[in-house]
C-alpha cells in the first residue's frame, strides 16, 4: 500500500445534540479511488464537507499530504491541491463555460489580482482549459452560457471545473445525482478515464454506480464507519445489505 494522502483521526461533527459524524477514522492511500457509501442520514455529506472544509469538525484531526488541515478554510485547502464538486450544481450560471473554467484555473494563480489586465486566456491557460473540457466530454461547448445548458452538461462542467486545477485529490459529491441512465453512464465513463495519479474520494447514493468505479469502499451508518472493504466484498456483505435494505424478516 502506498503512502497515505488523506488521514482522518477520530473526526466528529456535531450540530448541537446531533452527532452527524461520530468519530470516523480512515486512511486513503495516494492514487486510490475511494467511495463513501451509506443510507440517507449516515453522515456521508457531513463527512465530505469536513474534508473539503465547508464544515469544520467539532473534534478529531484531518491530515492531507502529511499536513494538518483540520481548521483550514476551503480556499486554503484548494491551494494545497484539494478540489471538489457539489451535489447541487454550483456553477457561475450567467457566465460562459470558458469564463467558468478561467475562474477555476485562476483561483490558484496571482493573475486573479490583475486589476486592469486583458481578459483573454494566455498560452498556458488555453490548453489546460481545452484539456479539462475534453476530459469532461464538453470540448465543443466553451462559448455556451451555463444557464442555457442542459442539466447533464452542467454536471459535466462541474467535473471539468474540479479537474482544470490539476488537483492531487478530487472530491466528488454525488456526481451523478439527478441524471438519466444514459447520462449516468457517461459520468461514470468520465470518472473512470481520469488520470490514475489523482486520488478520488466520491460519495454516491447509487451503490451500483459507486462500486463500479472505485478500488475501495467505506460504508457509513449512523455517523460511524460500518465496514471498509473492496467493492466485491461490499456487494456480499450482510451488514451493508442490512443497513441499506433493513433486516430480513424471515429466512
Amino acid at each position: 500500500m502506498s503512502e497515505p494522502i488523506l488521514t482522518l483521526v477520530d473526526v466528529a461533527v456535531a450540530f448541537d445534540a446531533l452527532r452527524a459524524v461520530d468519530g470516523v477514522s480512515l486512511t486513503v492511500p495516494r492514487g486510490q479511488r475511494r467511495a463513501i457509501i451509506g443510507p440517507n442520514g449516515a453522515g456521508k455529506t457531513t463527512l465530505f464537507n469536513a474534508i473539503a472544509g465547508a464544515v469544520p469538525p467539532t473534534s478529531g484531526k484531518i491530515l492531507f499530504d502529511a499536513r494538518e488541515i483540520t481548521r483550514l478554510p476551503p480556499h486554503r485547502r484548494a491551494q494545497l491541491g484539494i478540489s471538489r464538486t457539489f451535489q447541487i450544481t454550483n456553477l457561475f450560471p450567467t457566465l460562459s463555460v470558458r469564463d467558468n473554467m478561467v475562474l477555476a484555473l485562476r483561483g490558484l494563480s496571482p493573475r486573479k489580482f490583475s486589476l486592469f489586465g486583458k481578459p483573454d486566456t494566455d498560452e498556458a491557460e488555453a490548453p489546460r482549459i481545452a484539456a479539462a473540457l475534453d476530459a469532461a466530454r464538453i470540448g465543443g461547448r466553451a462559448d455556451a452560457i451555463v444557464k442555457e445548458m442542459s442539466y447533464g452538461e452542467q454536471r459535466q462542467l462541474e467535473i471539468a471545473i474540479a479537474l482544470v486545477t490539476r488537483p492531487t485529490m478530487l472530491l466528488l459529491d454525488e456526481p451523478a445525482a439527478g441524471l438519466s441512465p444514459a447520462e449516468r453512464s457517461m459520468v461514470a465513463e468520465i470518472i473512470r478515464s481520469l488520470d490514475r495519479d489523482i486520488t478520488v474520494v466520491l460519495i454516491e447514493h447509487d451503490m451500483d454506480l459507486a462500486l463500479g468505479l472505485v478500488d475501495y469502499v467505506t460504508c457509513m451508518f449512523e455517523g460511524r464507519v460500518l465496514v471498509e472493504e473492496p467493492p466485491e466484498a461490499i456487494r456480499r456483505n450482510a451488514k451493508v445489505q442490512e443497513v441499506y435494505l433493513g433486516k430480513p424478516r424471515h429466512a
Binding site: A78, N90, L91, D99, K112
Partner: protein, 307 residues
C-alpha cells in the same frame, strides 16, 4: 478594444464635446452634472452589477471627497490639484473602512450596513461644526481660474469622465473583474476554487470608492459649496436610482440614467413643484416595463432584431 467599440466611443465623446455649441450656459451646467453623477452611478454599478452588492453608502463616500476638496481649498489653502488628490484619497480611505466592515455580508445586510455607515458620515458632517460648518456647509472658490468658464469646465470634466470610464471598463473586464462576477454568481464555489472572497470584495469596494471619490472631487469644483445634503442618504439613493434606470451591470447605462433623472428633475420642476412625485411614478413605470433599465432594454431589443 475592438475597432467597432472604439469607433462608437469616439462618436459618443465627440457628440458630447459638441454639446456646448448648441446648449445654453445653464444647460451646459446640467450636462456637467450628468457626467459627474454618471461617474458616481457607474462606481455603484461596479459593486451592484458585477459583484451583486448594492451599496447605499456611496453618496457618503462621494460627499467625503467633496468636503475634503472644499475644505482643503477654502480653509487649508491647498492648490486645486492637491485638494483634488486629497479628496480622492479621503474617499478611498473611507471606502476601505466601509469595505472592511461590509465585505462579509451580502443581500439586504450589505444594503443596511452600507446605509448605516453612510448615516454615520452624514452625522459627523452635520455635528463637527468647526470643520464642516454644520448645516451651513462650507463655501469656497474651488474651481481653478482657468476653468471658470462653464464650457471649458464642461470639456475638462468630459475628458476626465472619458478617462475614468475607460479605466472602469478595463477594470470590470479584467481578470479581477471576472472574479467579482464569479462571486456574484456563486460565493461558495469561489471559495472552494481557492479565492479569498472577502479580500476580493474589499479590493472591489475600494476601487469603487476611489471612482466615487473622483466624482465627488469634480462635484466640489462644479458646485464650490458643500453641505450635509451632499453626504446624505438621498445622495446615495439618487446614485442607485440612476444606475438602475440606466441598467444594472451595463456600466455606460449610468450616464443614460443620470441624464434621464437630471433632465426629468429640471424639466418637470419648471411645471410643477411636485416633481418628486413624477420622478417616483417614472421609477415605478421603469421597474414594471423595463426592470433591466434603459440600456438593458435597448440591448434586449437589438438582440431580438439581430436574431
Amino acid at each position: 478594444m475592438t475597432g467597432r467599440a472604439a469607433l462608437i466611443a469616439i462618436i459618443v465623446v465627440a457628440a458630447a464635446a459638441s454639446l456646448p455649441l448648441v446648449l445654453s450656459s445653464y444647460q451646459v451646467g446640467l450636462a456637467t452634472e450628468v457626467l459627474i453623477f454618471g461617474i458616481l452611478a457607474m462606481s455603484i454599478d461596479i459593486l451592484a452589477g458585477f459583484a451583486g452588492r448594492t451599496s447605499l453608502g456611496h453618496g457618503a463616500i462621494f460627499g467625503v471627497s467633496t468636503y475634503v476638496v472644499v475644505y482643503a481649498t477654502a480653509q487649508a489653502g491647498l492648490p486645486p490639484a492637491a485638494a483634488f488628490a486629497a479628496g480622492v484619497l479621503a474617499a478611498t480611505l473611507v471606502a476601505m473602512i466601509f469595505g472592511l466592515l461590509a465585505v462579509r455580508t451580502s443581500g439586504s445586510y450589505f444594503l443596511l450596513l452600507t446605509l448605516a455607515l453612510g448615516m454615520i458620515v452624514w452625522g459627523i458632517c452635520l455635528r463637527w461644526t468647526q470643520i464642516t460648518g454644520g448645516e451651513n456647509g462650507i463655501r469656497g472658490d474651488v474651481r481653478p481660474a482657468a476653468l471658470l468658464n462653464n464650457n471649458s469646465f464642461y470639456w475638462t470634466v468630459l475628458a476626465g469622465t472619458a478617462i475614468v470610464t475607460f479605466a472602469v471598463w478595463r477594470f470590470v473586464r479584467s481578470p479581477f473583474g471576472l472574479t467579482l462576477r464569479g462571486i456574484r454568481d456563486s460565493e461558495s464555489r469561489m471559495r472552494s476554487l481557492g479565492y479569498n472572497v472577502p479580500l476580493h470584495l474589499f479590493i472591489g469596494f475600494t476601487a469603487s470608492g476611489f471612482f466615487a471619490g473622483i466624482a465627488g472631487a469634480l462635484y466640489a469644483m462644479f458646485n464650490n459649496f458643500v453641505s450635509p445634503s451632499t453626504v446624505a442618504l438621498a445622495q446615495s439613493v439618487e446614485g442607485v436610482l440612476m444606475m438602475v434606470a440606466g441598467g444594472v451591470g451595463t456600466l455606460f447605462g449610468a450616464f443614460v440614467g443620470a441624464a434621464a433623472i437630471i433632465a426629468l428633475e429640471n424639466v418637470v420642476s419648471t411645471y410643477t413643484e411636485r416633481w418628486q412625485m413624477v420622478l417616483g411614478v417614472t421609477f415605478i413605470v421603469i421597474m414594471i416595463f423595463a426592470p433591466e433599465g434603459i440600456i438593458g432594454k435597448l440591448n434586449a431589443i437589438l438582440m431580438r432584431k439581430t436574431r
